[in-house]
Point group: C2
Chain length 563, copies 2
């Protein structure tokens, strides 16, 4: 206990110096740490710049590849389009439209990735370079601030050292003064114990001058030493007070430095770093998000076109493009031989009975045939439904392939197994083709039936009309056998101008509608109803008359078609 | 008029044959059209396959480049991480985290584009190849159906030809029988006019046998011819009826073919084409949309990390990592010299008056200094706010660069002009650096002021405490000058075990909070409030004691740190 309490100047100074040295080491290390931090930032920023420089190159390569790809097919389309000038947009098939839009999307992606590359190079990298500059500059400035802080610490610790030394000096002097005072006191005491004997002697001998002078001398010395001691003690107290006050100030400054100033110095170093970095990353994100939005818009356009894939409309476009080929021919007209003036079925006796019999035969035959063919049609419809179900199965979702599990090696298998496994496909396809075969065989059967029905029906209807007329005007309209009949007027062809309308864009739509509405139609497109059929044929005939004219019909396909 | 009406066999047959030939030509052209259509489909499907094959290559190249890019930096990070093992996730700086996530996103994009490439190759292209097969197969089958249809047309037109020829034959015979009958009638008439004269003569001459026999002969011939004519006329009527009935049937079959059958044939050819193509495009779209979703998810993760860029938390992480360097040192303790037992400021007379005076001087000096420094602080805050505004300006939106106008050549200029124009940047940066300079000069001023304040405040507080104590216990606690004071107990260091807690993860947070709440704190981090300061210092001290121990403190940084 006493060894620790009775520390000498040198020990104390050594302790103090150790402590100060420790602090100075920390200060040096703090600068090193700050420098190291700045260096890692510079490194990070360099890495980021290098990363974006290379990514910009990759994006540009990708963009160029996509552009080249799109251009390769686009130029092909352009040249074939020039060749087939007449294929205007109105004739653009829905399937071809999808293909064109996929090419558009590829061009769009190409442009967007080029833009991305441009933003990396001319914006993101520039920002990163500026942040690097800022980091270097701010590190220097912060270090300046740090040096000022450290100087303050050196100053206060030096002051503390000084006042401590002063305290030591005065305390030493105070101790020495005290011991001297104690010495004097001891001497005085000794003198007093002597003078006690002396006093007794004095009373006896009354006058012993030299002894009295000695005592006074000792007292004087004691007083002097007391004064000296008091003076030194006061000096020591003041020095101690100064030491204690400076100690408090030093501790406060050190505490402030470690708790606030060092943090402030780092803040100075950090100034704007995170904000600028955030803005740089946000520029990157903005570019990426915008690329994505643009990509999405393009995909939506394609999706819309895919939704609008329409075989019916494509079929009409094709027929419209080749209207000369699909235009119904003129009716076969009755051509009277060598001025034969009869131009109707004659139902007078003796053929009347025979025709009547034939009519009834046709009627019963037709009834049977229609029932039979209706059965075939039902099978056909069911088969088509099965085929439709096969053909429209929703097997196109590949989202499983984009699940980001930790293991990346399973991606390939996911994509190929669940959607397009060889076994699955083979099964589906053989099933589909089998159904297709059955459909075609049934369709041929149906076709035979309906052809027979349409022929018999035509004859039946003509006979019905004739016999009806015959019954109504048995004697009125039929001429006497020997007299040549009053010549009936040949059906006059309608005036041409009436039919100068669009071919399939005009009446075609109307009769397509009729066909759909026709209750006998199969799959909405086949009819055994002769009334419907005849009516449509009339329309076709009139179109035919228009189309067969040797004057170019400007109205038919917008002026580009010749006949 | 008469020339058209009196058409002969050959003319009629020629007309008919022209009409039939026209139809046959159309049928041939229809097959050609169907074939051409199938060929364009095959071509389109080939183009699509070729497109996706090449795009799969491009995607794979892109994927590989991205992977290489990510790997290059990731391996660098791994090696540096091994070197700095102790940098656990808890020490991952928010800025470095963003960088790692950008690398993750690059890897993710790489994987997704590889998946895209895989789906193109193993799904989309396969589908397209199958559709090609289908188109070829269905064209063949539809052509078979078409041939059947055409055969039917040939059959009915041939039949029409036959019945027309029959009608012509019987009509010719009927005409000849009629003319023969007319001849006989003429002869009879001539005979009658002669016999009219004869009858007058007969009445006169009564018997003229040979003349009567001739008349009967003529009558017989006429009857015979009449019978022949009637027979031929019936035959002709039947033939004409047959012709007319067949004409109706033929027209009905032709009409049916042109209106329904040809359309049905095209439908057979189209069967499933649009549906299968749609499914293929939807597979492509599904892949693209999923890629986009994955990309978006990745970007959202980065955006979240950017939102969480936090300089304060990074600073604490750095200080935590280097806690030895930033740990506050031990307080400078009062070290009594040579067993000096006084360890407090002595405020007895004669120093009391002086200390009191000094105390009041400090008080007024502090008041002035604080006001002055508060002014500096206000300027500092305002400057920091200006800097903050500059550093957080929202200049990162690059959506304009992704606007798809028709003209693509303006993209570059948009990206570089509006966001990162050289002039704009230079202006902003010089402005920013000027403000920064001003901030630093003000900060130094503030630092000087606050250092002075903290020192004076420490002395002031110590004096206040001493004088207060002195007033309260003027005679009680102060020892008489000559007697050495009763030794005061040295402040005992607290037991070490108490401070075996985490360093900055524990108390650091608490005092960071306190610092924020400290009303004197500048920017939440600077304080001139000595109470707050002292309190924090106490905590630091205790940490210091723990950290300075020569036994490794397992609790401080999770066991990996040594002292």
């Amino acid at each position: 206990m006493s060894s620790t309490r009775f520390k000498k100047d040198k020990e104390i100074i050594a302790d103090y110096e150790t402590q100060v040295k420790e602090i100075r080491n920390q200060l040096v290390e703090q600068f090193k740490c700050l420098e190291q931090q700045s260096e890692s930032r510079i490194q990070l920023l360099q890495d980021l710049q290098e990363f974006f420089r290379r990514k910009a190159e990759i994006e540009l390569e990708y963009s160029r590849s996509l552009d080249k790809l799109a251009e390769r097919f686009s130029s092909k389309i352009r040249s074939s389009r020039e060749h087939q000038q007449f294929k205007k947009d109105q004739h653009l098939l829905s399937s071809v439209n999808c293909w064109y839009l996929v090419l558009n999307q590829t061009r769009r992606e190409s442009r967007d990735h080029a833009t991305l590359s441009d933003i990396y190079t001319n914006n993101v990298i520039l920002r990163l370079a500026q942040i690097s500059e800022d980091v270097i500059r701010l590190f220097k400035k912060s270090k300046d601030i740090g040096i000022q802080m450290h100087e303050e610490l050196v100053k206060v610790t030096n002051e503390l050292y000084t006042v401590m030394k002063t305290y030591h000096m005065y305390h030493t002097e105070s101790i020495s003064a005290e011991s001297k005072l104690k010495d004097a006191e001891k001497q005085e005491e000794k003198q007093f114990s002597k003078s006690g004997d002396l006093n007794v002697n004095l009373l006896r001998h009354e006058d012993r001058q030299p002894r009295r002078g000695f005592v006074r001398k000792i007292e004087k010395m004691k007083e002097k030493r007391q004064a000296k001691y008091s003076e030194n003690k006061l000096k020591c107290t003041k020095a101690r007070n100064d030491y204690l006050l400076n100690l408090a100030a030093t501790n406060a400054v050190v505490a402030k430095y470690y708790i606030h100033d060092v943090s402030d110095m780092i803040d100075c170093c950090d100034m704007g770093y995170h904000a600028s970095l955030a803005r740089t990353f946000r520029t990157y994100l903005s570019a990426e998000y915008n690329l994505e939005t643009s990509r999405h818009e393009g995909l939506d356009i394609i999706e819309n076109a895919v939704d609008n894939l329409d075989s019916r409309s494509d079929k009409h476009k094709i027929m419209d493009m080749h209207n000369q080929v699909f235009c119904p021919p003129m009716r076969f007209e009755y051509l009277p031989h060598m001025g034969d003036e009869v131009c109707q079925v004659s139902a007078q006796q003796p053929v009347q009975t025979e025709l009547l019999m034939r009519y009834h035969q046709l009627q019963s035959r037709l009834a049977t045939l229609k029932i039979e063919n209706e059965e075939v049609r039902k099978t056909l419809d069911a088969t088509m439904q099965t085929l439709q179900d096969m053909l429209t199965v929703e097997d196109f979702d590949v989202s499983d392939a984009f699940q980001h599990s930790r293991s990346t090696e399973s991606i390939k298998s996911v994509a190929s197994e669940s959607y397009m496994s060889k076994l699955n496909i083979a099964k589906r396809r053989s099933n589909q083709q089998e159904t297709e075969m059955f459909y075609f065989s049934k369709f041929k059967e149906y076709l035979n039936g309906s052809n027979l029905i349409i022929k018999l029906q035509a004859k039946h209807d003509l006979l019905k009309q004739t016999l009806g007329e015959g019954e109504r005007a048995e004697c009125g309209t039929t001429r006497p056998p020997t007299l040549p009949p009053k010549p009936q007027k040949m059906r006059k062809p309608r005036p041409r101008s009436m039919y100068n309308h669009k071919l399939f864009n005009g009446n075609m739509e109307t009769f397509i509608k009729r066909k759909k509405e026709c209750p006998y139609s199969h799959s909405g497109f086949r009819s055994t109803d002769p009334t419907c059929c005849r009516e449509l044929y009339q329309i076709h005939q009139s179109i035919r008359f228009a189309a067969a004219g040797d004057i170019p019909c400007a109205g038919i396909t917008g002026g580009s078609q010749r006949y």
